[in-house]
Amino acid sequence: MQFDKAISGKKQGLADAQGWPAETFIVGQQGSPPDTIVWGDSYTEAMIPGFVSYHRATGRGAIIASRPGCQPLIGISLYQDKGCELHNAEIFTAILQHSAKRVILIGFWSAVAKGIVRNSDGSVAYREHGQKDGPVFEAALRSMIGKLTERGKDVVIVGPIPLQKFAAARVDAG
């Protein structure tokens, strides 16, 4: 058995979220905007089936803003990819402008926590071989969360996923 490790919202049958940046999707009805925004990387895409199931069970939907490899943080160029910084800035601005009261953050946190460092000029950057400087990551996350809560948003962080030490699909096939 073989899975795609993460599948975009579009491939999972979700509609584009109207009025949102590209590659942002809606679980629920376009006419009644959800009160929840889910923002994150490929872990978010992997969890889309859970949001769809929850919507079917309760009628509560969500806006899904996900981009593989882009953990939900602002002001940081992740993995030397300026695209992440621009994408995250765009999503963050859209969140602040939206009436949603809840923001759910999902990401491969340990990947970025180990690589986010502070430059000599005080700016924050991602380094492939960072110093595992958790405090810099913590400060960046705390600052961003503060901006969300100041605007009246509740923030839910989804904690780390246990890593396995092999590819499950390969083992299953063997």
């Binding site: 859970g50 926590a113 948003k153 509740d154 839910v156 904690g159 780390p160 030490k165 499950a168």
Partner: protein, 96 residues
């Protein structure tokens, strides 16, 4: 992976998130609560993989997190303290 290995592997993040959870209007939910037990964090259950690779959950893995999804959508007070939330939202270090 055993639960102890998971907690050791994620110690930095778990410590940071515990401090985040103390902030007003912030909650943290923990997927491992639905994926791990005393025996460890399984990758397969009833011959169905819970992961699609070494760290992305499969749909079957996500289906193990029904309780977590419900918790995420709870309209919690700024500092949630109810037993219902604590069951999934409590930091791992203190729940084991």
């Amino acid at each position: 992976m055993t639960r102890a290995e998971f907690i050791e592997d994620k110690a930095t993040i778990l410590d940071i998130f515990e401090r985040m959870a103390a902030l007003p209007r912030v909650r943290v939910v923990y997927p491992d609560k639905g994926l791990c037990d005393a025996q460890g964090c399984r990758y397969v259950e009833n011959n169905v993989p819970l992961y699609s690779d070494d760290h992305h959950l499969s749909p079957a893995g996500v289906a193990k997190l029904t309780g977590m999804f419900a918790t995420m959508f709870v309209d919690a007070p700024p500092r949630a303290s109810s037993a219902a939330l604590t069951a999934i939202a409590a930091p791992n270090q203190k729940s084991d």
